[in-house]
Symmetry: C2
Subunit: 326 residues, 2 copies
């Protein structure tokens, strides 16, 4: 599919975005998010201007204080003179677009700061689409001169694994819990986390958070005993009191240093290859969803299967036949 | 695709399987497991003879004592005069086939019992294939007159969710742990479990297991407070000492009773519909894997992406073009 939009428009948008024009940045992200026919042109126009930003993933369960912590982190990064992009990825939300009230409310401290660009990414119901659009949105922000791009995701389904596959460093926020701080931590998260922060280490809860961090740190050392690679450090912080955030950022930078330039490039190359196959698989799923032939038969087949009149194997054959017929 | 094998052969196999001929059962399972062209014929020939068996999923982490517990459960079911089929699903194993030494060793108590059929199912590297083959294998055992079919899976990746989608009742085995028994339980498992058993409740560990079961039971009641549906009971058992297994089975039956006949049929119909789409998605993935066009370009594209010479979006376009060209 080729675009009917003149390529010159895309080039103009990229030029303006590189000059820091927020409207052009928003426009480019919309183009990649909607898997517009212009996606390929946008990617090609961006390519020469990308690769410079530090790309950081940030996740944690609802209630862990992600928004507040992100806001504090953005403030710290701005204080150091960085331009910052934030992509809030919520696979459970059907909404998207930089103009949403939610974006303004959730990080109102930065709403008037032209050095910060905030955008929600939505999945429209499928993580595959999100997995395809988000790395492109990162590249838009990278080309637009962001020194740091934060990709924030709520921990639903496979979203963290997806986000971990598109960032340089993956930061996991958790809480100290009474009893055992490991309880409730999603399995597999600790393996993909590069830096871990126990949040809400404030007031009465500070001691508990420190104890939890120490226990978690010990557990990680035990698990990774003998391995020569990076072992995720466990810190405490408080988004509310704005403490510990600088330390967390220092560890994020340290993680990236530990990769080395070659290691970082190899990691990004592997991610690009994985991303390639994500795009391919996503396109195949999209074709199935879009297929006029499938649309025509799906309700009838659904009814027949639910009524027990049609075995699943035969139903699948019919769907595939309808798909192949167009 | 149509089979070159005469349909009469399939009918003969089904007839012999229904008479309890283990070799014919094994042959039919191999046909569905290998996604043979005869799969559709097998499904059609089986259809009139299925729907009678109780289909029970059983999962737990490695080391939880699944094999021993399954063996005890099989013994209890045999003692009640049931014919029993066991499908051991291991998505991490490349091996399959009823003739494997492993199958005989792991349940040698039942090796000479003609009322028990044991079979390992392997995924050959993709869970999609397993998701497609296992419900068919269940149907073979159902048609072959098994009163109970146990689908046992090791808790890897999404395998439990997959198995939960093909059984009437889902039984989760866990262990009492020092400290907090919830620790280490994979997230999401408790939501899909219909009956939970804390295993190895024997000797010194019996008290600990009972305390753990009580705590877990309390947590579940708290979580499901106000819901009117089934709340998974938490029991203790010992595969080693063969205690508690009868109680576990009684609760499994109780769960199925709670569904009612209409509820059971609706559940199975929903599962068939989900299974239909699994088969469709699996076929699309298979086509991508088999595509001669893709095979031709994939190494070159891989190298170009890893070298940074080809952006992911363009690489995906090329793979899709190669796929579409055949």
């Amino acid at each position: 599919v080729t675009s009917t939009r003149p390529a010159a428009d895309i080039d103009t948008l990229v030029t303006r975005a590189r000059e820091g024009d927020a409207r052009s940045v928003a426009r480019l992200i919309s183009l990649v998010e909607n898997a517009s026919p212009a996606l390929r042109e946008v990617a090609a126009a961006l390519a020469p201007h990308t690769g410079r930003a530090r790309v950081i993933g940030l996740t944690g369960s609802p209630g862990v204080g992600k928004s507040t912590s992100t806001s504090m982190l953005v403030r710290a990064l701005r204080g150091q003179g960085n331009r910052v992009g934030v992509l809030a990825v919520d696979p459970s939300s059907p909404f998207s677009g930089g103009a949403l009230l939610g974006d303004r409310v959730r990080m109102q401290d930065h709403a008037t700061d032209s050095g910060v660009f905030i955008r929600s990414m939505a999945s429209r119901g499928h993580l595959g689409g999100l997995a395809a659009a988000t790395p492109q949105a990162v590249r838009v922000l990278d080309a637009a001169g962001c020194d740091v791009v934060l990709v924030e995701t709520v921990g639903v389904g496979q979203s963290e694994v997806t986000v971990a596959g598109m960032v340089d460093t993956f930061l996991f926020l958790t809480l100290a819990r009474t009893g055992d701080q490991l309880q409730g931590i999603k399995k597999g998260i600790l393996e993909i986390a590069d830096v871990i922060a126990v949040n809400k280490a404030d007031g009465d809860r500070a001691d508990e958070a420190r104890a939890a961090a120490k226990e978690l740190s010990g557990a990680l050392r035990l698990v990774h005993r003998g391995s020569k690679g990076w072992v995720a450090p466990v810190l405490t912080c408080s988004g509310l009191e704005d403490t510990g955030v600088d330390d967390v950022w220092a560890r994020v930078l340290e993680h990236r240093e530990s990769l080395g330039q070659d290691g970082l490039e190899a990691k990004r190359a592997d991610q690009q290859l994985e991303f390639t196959w994500t795009l391919v698989r996503d396109e195949l799923q999209q074709r199935l969803r879009r297929s006029a032939g499938v649309k025509e038969v799906r309700e009838e087949i659904r009814a027949a299967v639910l009524a027990g009149d049609l075995p699943a194997t035969l139903a699948a054959d019919r769907i595939l036949a309808a798909y192949d017929a167009g």
